[in-house]
């Protein structure tokens, strides 16, 4: 299945390829993955739903009871088992899926030792519970969808910049600079905390790994700007850290951030770039991860598709800071945080400008 005959014995077809219609009906095929659910009919047929992470939906294998290991193994299969199933791809008679596999061989590659205590049942689990089984939560709908969307997002971001002559700059994560105080810092050190080198009443960081006080970066901006003034179009896309115990939706303590820099450009060029990038990336995600986003819409956030479409379809409103402050002052809204020239805009202010005043994205 992999282009170029890459891996000799890996001849399984991804569920995504089977469900997308890119494999002709009637083909002999092999699917490898994990059992999401199984149902044994009284007529002596088992229906095994197999997922392999490539697609939101599993594919259903129809297993007849004339297989050699039907009694001994197929009937014993439980959710979570790793299986390899060979058979013919057919159009499905059942509802909810277009294709299925008429199995001619079922191999159980890995059993679940104690099915009754398998942590990821076919039901809705809370995120708090899933934190306690982090090794298995990638098998859930939500975490699988997140991983697929993240991959598509990352590929869309990298491709966007690569196709436009940008250079990806890996700015250092361990740094001695604090980037204009953009956030609280994590210290990085190899000093023995129980035996710190003290000189004149202060820690002697000359004894530390880099012979200087060192932190995790809060932004690659300083470094990437130097590259911008040599390479013209550059961006960072890497991990960034903020040691803020804030628990807001703004960012985690560790998150991946994109920072483009363009030379010979002004603020308006920069705003256009941001708009074009967002539109490109969201379009790719809606096009390529439709099932995953539909799941988010249904279970996590009922407005996500509308909001993505509205960003794609709207021309962003360009507004300068002074204009924004004037509008907020005259709004008569009861904001929690004060509005004044020189103060940062808070989320509530940004939300008023985009949602109420302009009715589309503001930059």
């Amino acid at each position: 299945t992999l282009p170029g005959g890459m891996v000799s014995t890996m001849n399984a077809i991804l569920v995504e390829d089977l469900l997308s219609g890119s494999v002709p009906v009637g083909s002999q095929t092999v699917v490898e993955g994990w059992v999401r659910s199984k149902r044994d009919s009284k007529a002596g047929i088992s229906f095994v739903a197999v997922h392999d992470g490539s697609h939101f939906d599993p594919i259903q294998a129809v297993v007849p009871n004339d297989l050699d290991n039907y009694e001994s193994e197929v009937l014993a299969i439980t959710t979570g088992c790793a299986v390899r199933i060979e058979g013919e791809l057919t159009e499905s008679q059942g509802k909810g899926q277009q294709f299925e596999i008429q199995a001619t061989r079922v191999e159980v590659v890995g059993w679940i030792a104690d099915p009754d205590s398998y942590p990821i049942a076919k039901k809705r689990h809370s995120f708090e519970y899933l934190r306690t089984v982090a090794h298995l939560r990638p098998r859930t709908n939500t975490f699988g969808a997140i991983a697929r969307v993240r991959t598509t997002l990352a590929n869309a971001i990298h491709s966007y910049f690569f196709e436009r002559g940008f250079h990806w700059i890996n700015t250092p994560l361990i740094t001695a600079s604090d980037c204009e105080g953009a956030g609280e810092l994590f210290r990085v050190s190899t000093l023995d905390l129980m035996n710190l080198p003290i000189e004149n009443g202060a820690i002697d960081f000359g004894e530390d790994f880099f012979a200087a006080e060192s932190f995790l970066t809060v932004s690659g901006q300083l470094n990437v700007e130097a590259y911008c003034l040599a390479m013209s179009r550059v961006y960072t896309f890497g991990p960034t850290f903020r040691a803020e115990n804030s628990n807001t939706s703004r960012h985690l303590a560790e998150f991946w951030m994109v920072e483009p820099e363009i030379a010979f450009a002004d603020l308006s060029d920069n705003a256009d770039l941001a708009e074009d990038l967002l539109t490109h990336v969201l379009t790719r995600v809606l096009d390529e991860r439709e099932n995953d986003i539909a799941f988010f819409q249904q279970r996590i956030d009922g407005t996500v598709i509308d909001r993505m479409r509205s960003i794609i379809d709207s021309k962003f409103e360009h507004m300068d800071y002074s204009e924004a402050i004037d509008i907020l002052r005259q709004s008569g809204e009861p904001f929690e945080f004060p509005v004044g020239w020189g103060l940062d805009l808070q989320s509530e202010h940004e939300r008023y400008l985009t949602d109420k005043y302009v009715g589309r994205p503001v930059i």
Copy 2:
């Protein structure tokens, strides 16, 4: 120049596009970049070499003395100035370049305050010296070539996996696990070093940011394996850290590492994947960054092209550990480190196997 009319006022053409022949001779064009060198002829013509980071070579602009600002500005241009040059793309009469620009307008966007002390002269600088001017070294041939090759490498790696249905997993960089002791750890903390919380004679990491002793990751393996057993084909590509004061060519204290994991595969599939990935990536770099690699061959490492080609052209030798130990034992080579079943292979051992015994890559 950017696809999709992305940036309204950014209408400069990249030097790479001008030199590659993708812009028709006779076109009116604009180039924006930095002056690598300038020569004023007695005949009243100036030759300005402009680089913008998109290509190893700068493009030459031929500036006639009938421009309004020729005396006042063009003659005063020095290495490092930021310029915007408009003119017609023509075939070059000079040797060493195929195309040049007959300038009709030269705008100096940024001057060098003190040209005599501009740190990046048109001569060869030592790497040690360039460390002291890190903000300007991206303008040198070497660092520009490194940035371009890294971008191509990164794009080749991400594209390879994306096209083959792999998911890019961002494993956590801050972690409490030490990944089987793969390397020495950097501690990550927000504790006040001058006022550490001590309980029962030990640091109380319950008071630290994550309420646990935390480190920078030495490998995302543990986390990505969990994703592999749900998503089938996954990889990490992110920063990794080793607090080893070793100064070898193996790795830096901070480096980017690729870790693929494939489910339903054996060691041989894994070896095939590694070979195919390396071949793919090196081929892309040789194809797309020919000038940069030629520069490395000439100035940094005279065997780099041969070694890249040999990896691309050779079928890798598969050899298991026991076989390698036997060969090394019987080699009669005076190795510095001991050879014995159960001991790690050192660089000298690997080099003997690849360079002397097999004569091509061994996996």
